[in-house]
Amino acid sequence: MLEINGISKTYPGVIANSDISFNINTGEVHALLGENGAGKSTLVKIIYGLVKPDSGNLLLNGVPFRPGTPSEARKAGIAMVFQHFSLFEALSVAENISLGMDNPPNQRDLGKKIKSVSESYGLPIDPAKTVGELSVGERQRVEIIRCLLQNPKLLVMDEPTSVLTPQEVDILFKTLLKLRSEGTSILYISHKLEEIRKLCDTATILRLGKKVDTCTPEKTSTKKLAEMMVGSTIKAPEKLNKPAGQVMLNVDNICCVSKSQFGTSLTNVTFDLRQGEILGIGGVAGNGQDELFAVLSGEQFSQHGSISFNGINITKFNPNQRRKIGLLSAPEERLGHAAAPNMSLIENTLITAENSQNLVSLGFIDWKKSKAFADKVIKKFDVRTPGSQNTAGSLSGGNLQKFVIGREILQNPSVFIVNQPTWGVDAAAASSIRQALLTLSENGAAILVISQDLDELLEISDQFAALNGGALSRIEKTAELSMEQIGLMMGGAKDLEARNV
C-alpha cells in the first residue's frame, strides 16, 4: 500500500534518514523499531507531511505521494497519533477532535459520531468533558478517535504504550487488531520488543538513520531484535542481592496539593526507604508523580503527616536543608528543572552542589572549584560534550541525563530520589545510568525510583509500589510480582471493562 523508496533527510550536523526503503501492506501491523535518535520520528514526519525529504520518494497505492502539509496527508488517508499529544487542556473533547479534523461537522453531529466510534472500537469517551480532567490513557483515546473519524487507510502510532497500564495496553491491542481486520494498516513505532512480537506482523529496524533490516518479529528472538536496534550487545546491569539495612527515610501519611490546574494531588502516602534498597514506584504519568517528587525534594511541604530522616523530622525542610543532611534528588525534566538550558555545565553545578562541594564562600562563587567538579562529573559518567563550559541545552538527552544524575551521585547521598531516570534516553546511556543507581545502592544508599518504565523497575528495584490517582498501593517485593498484578496495582484500566470489540 505504501512504498517507501530511498528516503533521505539531513539536518545541519546530523543525518536523520539515509536511504530508507521498505513497504507497508494493506491490513498489516508494521513495527518501526529503533532507539532514540535512530530516525523514526523524522521518517514518520515525512510520511505525515511535516517534513520534506531531501531525496527519495513515497508511493501510495502506486501513485507518487508528496504531502506538503499534514492536512494533505490526512486527505490521502494517513492519520497519526503522536507521542506528545496535541491536545488543548482547557477545551472539551469534542472541540479538541474538531480542531484536529479538516472538515469537522458541527458540534452536535460531532458528539454523536464520537460516541458511536468510541463504542464500536472499545474506547469510551464523553465528548463534553474537558480534556484537562482526563487521565493520560483517556487522552490517548481522544487522539485515536480523532484519527478514526477520518477513516484512515494508514494509522501511525508513536510509542503509544509508554503511557498505559498493562490492562489498557491489552485493550489498545484489541482495537488495533480490529482495525487491521478492516483493512487499515498500522505503523507502530516502539522500542518495546515484547509488545512488537505480540502485536506486529512485520518489523523494520532503524539504527543511526539507516535501515538495518525488515523481519518477522514472531520468528526473531527478542535478543536478536535488541542487537539489531542497538548494534551491539549491551551489558545488562548486574544486581547483587544484599540484605537491606536500617530505615533511612520514613515517610508517614503525607499529602501534597497539586500546584497545576490539571494535576493530581497526593493523599496519605506512607513508605520506608532502607539502606541498600531500591524502592520502585510505578505508574502512568499524571497520577501524582510530580507531587510526590516535590514533597520529597523539599520544593513543596506536606500539610499532614511527617517525613523523618534518620530520626530527624524533615517535613518542613527546604531543598538545601535536605541536601545538607544527605537527601538528594533528580527531577524528571532535565531542561528547565534539573538544569538551566542556557547556562554552562559549570554554572549548573551550582544548582545542587553549592554546599556539599563548598563552591561558595562568604557568598562569593569559587568558579575554579565549580569547574573542577563539573569536569569530574563529565569524566566519571562519560558525558559526551566538548567541555564543561558548554551549555546544558547543547547536550543530547542521554548525556545531559548522565550529567544530572552523576552530579548528584558524586555528592554521596544517603538517600536519593529520582524521577524518570531514563526517559527519552538512548539504550547505552540508560544502561549506564541504571548501573550507576545499582552501584549507589550497593554502597549503602537508600534509593527511590519513580518511573513509567515497568521493565526498568523490574530490572533494578527490590520493592515495588504503584501510584494511582495520588494514592500509593501496597508495597511488594518486586521479584514476587506478575505483570498482571502490577497492572492492577496501577489501577487497571480506567472505566473500561473488556468490551465486545
Binding site: P70, S86, F88, E89, A90, P104
Partner: protein, 307 residues
C-alpha cells in the same frame, strides 16, 4: 458638600461615555491575549489612534472618518509589534513597552500643531421612542454611535470566540501553541490577525477620547487608559461580557470621583483622583488571590516553531 448636584441619570450616561474608550481597547486586548500574546503597547496604540483620529476629523470635518483612520493606522502600528514578537521572537514585555513609548512620542510629535484645537464631535443618536422614555431614555438611549458600536463589538467577540470555528482555533492557539502548530494551524498568522484587531480597537478607543469624551487634543491625553484596559482584561478573566462589566465599573469610579470633586466633596482632590488607580490595584489583588483562572496557558510565552 452638595450631593443633589449629582444627577444619577447623567451619571450613568457619562459613565458609559467614560468607559467606552477603555472598553474598546480592552475587548481588543482580550482577543490578543486569548491568542496567547501579551501586548503592553495598548497605551501607545490608543494615543496614536487619538491623534490620528483628531487630525483626520479636524481636516475633513467628519468625525466618523477620523475613527476609521484611527483604527487603520493603529492597526498598522501594531503590526510593528507583531513582526518583532512573532517573526523576530523578541521579548513581548520589552517590545510592548517600546511600542507604548514610541506611540507616546509619535503622537506628541504629530499632535503639536493641533494642541488646544477643538474637533467636530459625534452627535448623539436620537432613537425614536426609546430616547423619550423618562430617565432611562436619557441614560441609555441617547448616546452616540460609538457607544452602541462598542457594545455590539463585545457581542461580536463573544459570539466569535464561543460559536465559530475560527474562534475556537484562536483559543486553541492561546492554550497550547505547540499542539496547534502540530495540527497544522498557522499560529503566527492567527496571532498577527489578533494583534491587528487589538491595534484597531485600541485606536478606536483612543479616537473616542479625542473626538467624543474630550473633544480636543492634548499631549498624553490617554492618561493611562491603556494600562487600565490591560488590568480589566485580567479582571474579566478574559471573558468578553466581564470586560464590559469591568470597563463600566472603572468608568463609573472615574466619573463618580470627578462628580464628587465638582460637588465640593471634603476629600482632597488628589485622593479622589488617585482612587480609580487604587481601586484597580485592589481589584487586581482580589482576582489574583482567587487564582488567576482562565488565563490562556500560552500567554506571553514565545513560540518557536519546531521542525
Amino acid at each position: 458638600m452638595d450631593f443633589s448636584s449629582i444627577n444619577p441619570a447623567l451619571l450613568i450616561a457619562s459613565l458609559m461615555v467614560s468607559a467606552t474608550p477603555i472598553l474598546l481597547a480592552a475587548i481588543g486586548e482580550a482577543v490578543v491575549e486569548k491568542s496567547g500574546v501579551l501586548n503592553l503597547g495598548v497605551e501607545g496604540m490608543m494615543i496614536v489612534g487619538a491623534v490620528v483620529g483628531f487630525i483626520v476629523a479636524v481636516n475633513t470635518d467628519t468625525p466618523l472618518l477620523g475613527f476609521v483612520c484611527a483604527a487603520i493606522i493603529s492597526g498598522i502600528f501594531s503590526i510593528i509589534f507583531g513582526i518583532l514578537t512573532q517573526y523576530l521572537k523578541s521579548n513581548q514585555v520589552a517590545t510592548g513597552l517600546g511600542l507604548t513609548l514610541v506611540g507616546l512620542g509619535l503622537s506628541a510629535l504629530l499632535g503639536r500643531p493641533y494642541e488646544g484645537m477643538k474637533s467636530p464631535t459625534l452627535k448623539a443618536l436620537e432613537i425614536p421612542f426609546f430616547s423619550d422614555i423618562p430617565v432611562l431614555g436619557k441614560m441609555l438611549f441617547s448616546h452616540d454611535l460609538m457607544i452602541y458600536f462598542s457594545i455590539f463589538l463585545v457581542t461580536l467577540v463573544w459570539w466569535f470566540l464561543k460559536y465559530t470555528h475560527a474562534g475556537m482555533v484562536l483559543r486553541a492557539v492561546g492554550e497550547n501553541h505547540d499542539a496547534a502548530h502540530a495540527l497544522g494551524y498557522k499560529v503566527v498568522r492567527v496571532r498577527m490577525l489578533a494583534i491587528m484587531f487589538g491595534g484597531a480597537t485600541s485606536g478606536l478607543g483612543g479616537a473616542y477620547i479625542s473626538l467624543a469624551r474630550v473633544p480636543q487634543w492634548t499631549e498624553g491625553m490617554t492618561a493611562g487608559a491603556g494600562w487600565i484596559a490591560l488590568a480589566i482584561v485580567v479582571f474579566a478573566s478574559w471573558r468578553p461580557w466581564r470586560v464590559l462589566f469591568g470597563a463600566y465599573i472603572f468608568g463609573g469610579v472615574t466619573v463618580l470621583q470627578l462628580n464628587l470633586q465638582a460637588a465640593g466633596a471634603s476629600i482632597p482632590v488628589e485622593y479622589l483622583s488617585m482612587s480609580p488607580y487604587l481601586i484597580t490595584i485592589v481589584v487586581l489583588v482580589i482576582i489574583s488571590s482567587r487564582g488567576n483562572q482562565g488565563a490562556p496557558a500560552s500567554l506571553g510565552r514565545p513560540f518557536h516553531a519546531s521542525s
